[in-house]
Subunit: 407 residues, 2 copies
């Protein structure tokens, strides 16, 4: 049974077990819930039936939504069951035929996205953007930045799974010196390296979710590339925020890493420089630490250009959830929220080309030439790992996409 | 058969036939597609089966989504069939028992909302807002306003049907003179009287929808109240736009009026003051006129405070659809987009309390006292009609909601 015989320290070992949705080639191409183990995917629904598990109805599905809706206790119970299936020899034997090489399957968007919200939670990123776009401002942060996690709603219908081509968007742009806007393909197509949080348990309208209830509602996380057309965005975004500069595509990993796999990666957020209102205040000793130590890597055409550290985010996912619902807005199973671009304090830790090239002023030197923004044909890959049990890495599913010219 | 014996000129006569979703009280409480006729609702699915119609599978549903997805030709065919059922005596007889008094049914959100976008398409509204919030600006419009229909994504999960209570949201607010933000229930809760457009036919990612294809994709329209917490919005919206100031609730009519019922209401948009890029240019004689002559009425506790005319909107729904997809963003069945607050040129035609009271400076005198913004217990009702065949009015379904205090 080679699939269970993973090299020591494999980041997708039995300590990880992220969830996805896959289909097999040929006539039996139905979508099914899968669990990744090394370079294989376990058909979780069939495995559950083979082993007579009570979770079979939850796992024999074409999306993760039923599992997401089942809630924290069930998430942990299912994970314990899966861990037994892939580690106990008698179970291994029963499910060995239900492991498929990743190279033989097609991976799909793993859940039906309800609402998509994108935040702006990295202080380094916000300061860089402020300095680039508002060089004359007294403070590179807007006055509200340290008081609330700024966010906005994005387009759910154009969230695509890793591997999907991204068509270069067209739109209006206008340089300050242009007399009128011009129309055409974006000439400043960018990356935003982010982490996406997936809501499982819904909430009631009119009932805010407290900071401490983060783990009751959020099932897991994934990598997210919030592709951005900077020229379109710059012209459109005052006063109602980003719209077409972002809505053409957002890519997410095919694998959702459950929070339960990231226990060792939990860290406190950076020190707060401003007092927080009670609903956001995570300074109490018993508060949800909220931060995660995820080491992200951004590659263009296989060449690593940046390594943004997620632990540097000023606002945590727990604070974002509390903020998003404090006005009574309800959560639905399948809601997704992005952290905002992850940028660390140093130049090689910036999560966007806007920052890495300082709005095109300082091109990157790649093996295949200089880059300010993305060119047609460029392949962008985000990958990441987190510290796991006993120093073993927990791998996050990569998110990749190739830029293609519009027709 | 009294239900068919409507008074002459009834705005919900056989020339209208809007669609909704209802349930009956008691044990048979399943949701079903209904068509409004006067003060009754026809159980459309059962009527279709009773008459042996081929559209029975499309109508015997718990939401409008299957009908929405069926496309323009089917929409028109189904409407012709329905018109025959409610006008031809033999058919009337067969379906008389399937008409239920509106007072006896519960109305539900008529479709599953995919993405929700809100625009900002009234020049009068945008100029009023600009003068109120940016009194020192040289132009009350932002530089992009006349070049593109400004829009942003809103929260789909908190779209509610007319009649649903709206819990006053809490959030952060900060007056310019406050040293730090404070938290509490919004003290500037407002109305935004809008028209919502419902997308039926989806589109492919990477393929913009041309201006002239508006009617191929949009099934119909409804009234929409984009409840807004002005104090929350003012503090949060720079730089990424409205978020919690809007996301707590958006109310829509229980009835979707098909575009086919509004042929006589089609009007050209106001004259353009700026040249438009080709994808938005509707000046050609053969272009989709795009405008609709809808006479809206805004009432607070039954007292009419404003009558915004939709025909004054600078940007049309056809332009909004073309803009929303020009970057390659795809449409899904159930996408909803709001026009933005409808405000006419005169004081009594403004679609928000922000404008009607000039940000609270000039309170409205209502029979039950003065109003700047909404108080707990206030009931807001938007209603509207459009010119129909032979001068008969086409009634739009009202959208109403009562403000209740948070718990």
């Amino acid at each position: 049974m080679p699939p269970f015989d993973l090299p020591e320290g494999d980041p997708f070992g039995t300590h990880n077990l992220p969830y996805g949705v896959f289909s097999l080639p040929g006539s039996d191409s139905a979508r099914r819930v899968g669990v990744r183990l090394g370079d294989h995917v376990l058909d979780a629904g069939r495995a559950a039936y083979a082993l007579g598990s009570p979770y079979a109805p939850l796992l024999a599905q074409d999306s993760l939504n039923p599992l997401l809706a089942a809630g924290r206790t069930t998430w942990s119970d299912v994970r314990r069951a899966l861990t037994a299936w892939v580690t106990v020899p008698a179970h291994q034997e029963a499910i060995a035929d239900l492991l498929h090489p990743l190279s033989s399957v097609t991976l799909h968007l793993p859940f039906e996205v309800a609402d998509y919200v994108d935040f702006y939670a990295s202080e380094n990123h916000a300061r860089n953007v402020g300095q680039i776009f508002r060089p004359d401002a007294a403070d590179s942060l807007t006055p509200n930045w340290k008081h609330l996690p700024i966010g906005y709603h994005g387009r759910s219908g154009t969230i695509v799974v890793s591997g999907t081509d991204v068509v270069r968007p067209s739109g209006q742009r206008k340089a300050p010196t242009d007399p009128a806007p011009v129309f055409g393909p974006s000439v400043r197509l960018d990356i935003e390296a982010e982490v996406g949080f997936v809501v499982g348990t819904p909430s009631e309208m009119g009932r805010p979710v407290a900071l401490g209830d983060f783990r009751e509602h959020v099932f897991g996380l994934c990598l997210l590339n919030d592709w951005s057309a900077r020229d379109v965005q710059a012209w459109e975004y005052v006063p109602l925020g980003p719209f077409l500069g972002k809505s053409f595509a957002t890519s997410v990993s095919a694998w959702i890493t459950p929070l339960d796999a990231l226990e060792e990666a939990r860290v406190a957020a950076p020190e707060r420089t401003h007092p927080l209102l009670p609903y956001l205040d995570d300074s109490a000793a018993e508060a949800e630490p909220g931060g995660y130590d995820l080491r992200i890597s951004v590659a263009v055409n296989g060449h690593v250009v940046s390594e943004p550290p997620f632990s540097t985010m000023y606002w945590t996912a727990a604070q974002q959830l509390a903020h998003m619902t404090v006005n009574g807005a309800s959560l639905r199973t399948g809601d997704l929220y992005g952290s905002g671009t992850v940028s660390g304090p140093t130049e090689r830790e910036r999560g966007s080309l806007l920052e890495l090239t300082w709005n095109g002023r300082d091109p990157l030197e790649l093996p295949d030439g200089k880059r300010t923004f993305l060119e047609d044909g460029d392949v962008v890959t985000l990958s990441a790992w987190a510290p796991g049990p006993g120093g073993v890495r927990v791998g996050l599913g990569e998110v990749t996409g190739q830029v293609v010219a519009g027709s």
